[in-house]
């Protein structure tokens, strides 16, 4: 009996050891190399990790746009997606477990994180051999953003267009009813909100929990973007908004609005969809949001019967229910505001999937090709001529409404963009929602004079910055909401904490890069 027990026990122990040896083995295999002699006629099936689509993954794989791309490139692709929340955690876990993704579509923050963790494959050689079109249609400036220590680690997808896209939108009917117009100065803004509050009995301004810099308002205090150049005592330097000269004035102003009951009390915990609902159902009259929500806002207003039949009979047949404030005047009476730029996504390959990198690059190369012989890129962005769009020299690409719905999800499947032509195609996409196009058109007036860029939007991965980024961003965001409620009394302590916990390191890293670039 005793012997049996010993045997059993040693058996269990052996199994345990074998198990731990196995798991350890899993992590050993990191030395695979790029196979440069692959036969491109013998294509393999690709596993591609995508950002969260908000749809079921089977819908993502069955989308007509996915099928169109398979037809154009000849590659069968199986898409996977990250979850909507805690995506970076999920990504980190997947890669630690060596999930077999041939390619990944990452946000620039995720890309920088993975560079810092040394998880990505350098692509220089494989790009030279399999990606001539990729190299041609992406500009040198864009390559800089994915280059670390002289090596390219990703394929950047440049934003469709540099947009001014963070307005405060007003319910036009309420403005008209109360005889108000869109405010131009911070004093006017307060008066307008105050009037709405007294006349309509609602707390007028709402936004969601991820908006700490309300750009149209912070612009009045000289803060136009998160990281921006300031001249302080004759010295030029880049600073984070929390450390910007006008920041306390901005927060004091927000605190004033908040304590006067002009901002919803629970914005610190509000989901974006809830904010849209409040505005769309008339519980709020002003909404700080992004341009891309305009379509949904109008839909919600229609559902709540805030837009009547008559209102839709505007001269151009488009419901005209919204007014836009893109920026209050700053201290010099000028209008300046954040203009986005940079890189929505970056394609990268995990280092342990090096062997088949050639196929991935060939696939992307084929997708970006847009020549007279093969308009692969155009077809994957806006579909086919005569079916999805028409072209005239005067109006550019115009969507054909009955079929263009199918193209709504096309941008999700982009893997890098053909920078020579993308903006023109993209305009067809925005023309599809007339209210959105009008908003975009209005916000983009004189964009070149008004727009201010965020220095960090074109930042290559810098370890000192990316290691501290999430902490300082979160910290600034939390403290903003607290100070909006309580005032800026303890600001100097908070700023000291910010500086000591990564703020200074990140700021120095950005300045080093910015002043030497």
């Amino acid at each position: 009996m005793m012997k049996k027990a010993t045997k059993f026990f040693s058996g269990a122990l052996a199994a345990l050891m074998a198990f731990s040896a196995l798991t350890a083995c899993d992590f050993g295999g990191g030395d695979s190399e790029v196979n440069m002699d692959i036969d491109l006629n013998q294509k393999i099936d690709l596993n591609v990790l995508m950002p969260s689509s908000g749809r079921d993954i089977s819908a993502v794989n069955a989308d007509p746009n996915a099928l169109r791309i398979e037809e154009l490139t000849g590659y069968d692709v199986q898409y996977y997606q990250l979850p909507g929340s805690d995506a970076s955690t999920s990504l980190r876990n997947d890669l630690t477990a060596r999930a077999p993704y041939h390619a990944m579509k990452l946000t620039s923050a995720q890309f920088a994180d993975q560079i810092a963790e040394e998880m990505l494959l350098p692509l220089d050689e494989v790009l030279d051999k399999f990606g001539p079109e990729i190299k041609r249609v992406i500009s040198d400036g864009s390559w800089d953003v994915v280059t670390v220590d002289g090596k390219i680690y990703g394929i950047p997808e440049k934003a469709s267009s540099d947009n001014i896209e963070n307005p405060i939108i007003f319910n036009k009917f309420i403005l008209n009813e109360l005889n108000l117009s869109v405010p131009m100065t911070k004093e006017e803004l307060k008066t307008v909100l105050q009037t709405i509050k007294t006349q309509k009995g609602i707390t007028p301004l709402t936004f969601d929990k991820n908006q700490t810099l309300i750009y149209p308002i912070s612009a009045a205090f000289g803060i136009y973007s998160e990281w921006q150049e300031y001249t302080i005592d004759g010295q030029t330097e880049v600073r984070f908004y929390m450390d910007a000269p006008g920041y306390t004035d901005y927060v004091d102003y927000m605190h004033d609005l908040f304590s006067s009951g002009l901002i919803k009390q629970d914005v610190q915990d509000k989901d974006a969809s809830k904010a849209l609902q409040e505005f769309g159902s008339g519980q709020a009259a002003a909404l700080a949001t992004s341009l891309w929500s305009v379509g949904s806002v109008v839909n919600i207003m229609e559902e709540n019967a805030l837009i009547s039949e008559q209102d839709t009979l505007a001269p151009d047949g488009v419901p005209n229910a919204l007014s836009y404030l893109r920026s209050l005047e700053n201290a010099d009476g000028e209008e300046k505001v954040y203009r986005t730029s940079g890189y929505t996504y970056i394609m990268a390959i995990p280092f342990y999937m090096a062997e088949n990198a050639g196929y991935v690059i060939d696939w992307i190369n084929s997708k970006l090709t847009d020549t007279d012989e093969a308009h692969n890129f155009r077809e994957s962005v806006i579909g086919e001529e005569g079916v999805h769009w028409t072209y005239t020299a005067r109006d550019g690409y115009q969507p054909l409404m009955e079929n263009f719905d199918e193209m709504n999800t096309a941008d999700y499947y982009l893997t890098g963009s053909n920078e020579e032509v993308y903006t023109e195609y993209w305009k067809a996409r925005i023309r599809k929602t007339p209210e959105m196009y009008r908003a975009w058109d209005e916000l983009m007036t004189d964009a070149d004079e008004v727009g201010v860029y965020n220095v960090a939007d074109a930042l290559p991965p810098i370890t000192e910055y990316s290691k501290n980024r999430s902490y300082i961003e979160q910290y600034a965001q939390r403290q903003f909401y607290l100070m909006m409620r309580d005032g800026t009394g303890s600001f100097s302590e908070l700023l000291a904490h910010f500086k000591a916990n990564g703020g200074t390191t990140a700021t120095n890293a950005i300045n080093n890069w910015y002043l030497n670039k």
Binding site: Q265, D266, S470
Partner: protein
């Protein structure tokens, strides 16, 4: 091994076989992972690149995480928050299931008793995400409860209210489920005791205090000691779903903090989070050992 023990082992050796699965489970899932505690003494590790073992060997030894724990006032604050919420939960919520069990056991109508039990068990099977969602809507600034009373309190955003809200929701969710064990204990009490009491003219309250509670006292004490062992665990899942920027100051507990800096929004600091976890574990160990000691002294009863 002493002779007496040897004899006992010989006699019951086949029973030790039944112990093996439990020992193996404890080794694999409780003791083996403790090796990971060494991460608290290591600098930055590239786990994704090299896997846990090689990354561990490559990293430098350091005490920086422990220095940070003892120098960063916010971490001390989180420990206090944890204790505060946890003690509130024990003081307010521990007696309630006992009370509920006494009441339930006294219900004569079998059907009604089952109905009440099912109703109070139900919330236990809902996840915290769902419960927090329900209460966030009920207690929203423009929500039904505020409109009913004509007030506009922002319940989920008031730091002073937050710990009490945590306790209240936890009570709502778990009281019914926690009372099961007491209901069972009460049902095993000899009925003749109650008959005798009734003959002597004891009222219901009198019976509860003189028979029911003393008879289930050992169960109550065991449950209390087990509960005290979780003193440093103030309810991660619950607080994580409830907390917002306004309430970090009074609501951030060790559990949510460790998650946040290792896997969450400020993630990737595995070394620091391990160190905080280890520190937390040591406090818990001290707590449960002293609770058991005190209980043995005072009530002559302990769990070992």
């Amino acid at each position: 091994m002493k002779k007496h023990e040897k004899v006992l082992f010989q006699r019951y050796k086949s029973l030790y076989l039944f112990l093996i699965p439990a020992v193996v489970l404890a080794l694999v899932f409780s003791y083996l992972p403790m090796v990971g505690l060494l991460m608290g003494f290591k600098g930055e590790m590239l786990i994704g690149r090299y896997g846990p073992i090689e990354a561990f060997l490559r990293a430098d030894w350091t005490f920086e995480h422990f220095i940070k724990i003892f120098s960063d006032p916010t971490i001390g604050k989180y420990i206090l928050n944890t204790l505060y919420i946890s003690i509130l939960k024990i003081v307010i919520l521990f007696p309630l299931p006992v009370f509920l069990a006494v009441l339930i056991a006294d219900v004569r109508n079998k059907g009604f008793s089952t109905f009440v039990q099912s109703m109070v068990f139900l919330p236990h099977f809902l996840s915290w995400v769902v419960i927090t969602g329900i209460f966030k809507d009920l207690l929203a600034v423009d929500g039904p409860i505020n409109s009913l009373f004509g007030i506009d309190v922002y319940w989920f955003g008031e730091p002073a209210i937050f710990p009490w809200l945590v306790v209240a929701l936890n009570g709502w969710k778990e009281i019914g489920y926690s009372s099961i064990v007491y209901v069972a204990a009460i049902l095993s009490i000899d009925v003749s005791l109650y008959e005798a009491a009734r003959m002597d003219g004891a009222s219901k309250t009198r019976q509860a205090f003189s028979i029911t509670i003393p008879m289930i006292a050992s169960t109550i004490i065991t449950m209390l000691i087990i509960r005290l062992g979780y003193l440093m665990e103030a309810g991660f899942e619950q607080v994580y779903t409830m907390i917002t920027p306004y309430t970090y100051d009074s609501g951030q507990i060790i559990g949510t903090y460790v998650y946040e800096i290792s896997l969450g929004e400020m993630g990737g600091q595995y070394g620091l989070s391990t160190a905080v976890g280890l520190f937390n574990g040591i406090i818990s160990l001290i707590m449960i050992v002293s609770a058991n000691y005190i209980s043995k002294k005072v009530a002559q009863e302990g769990i070992w």
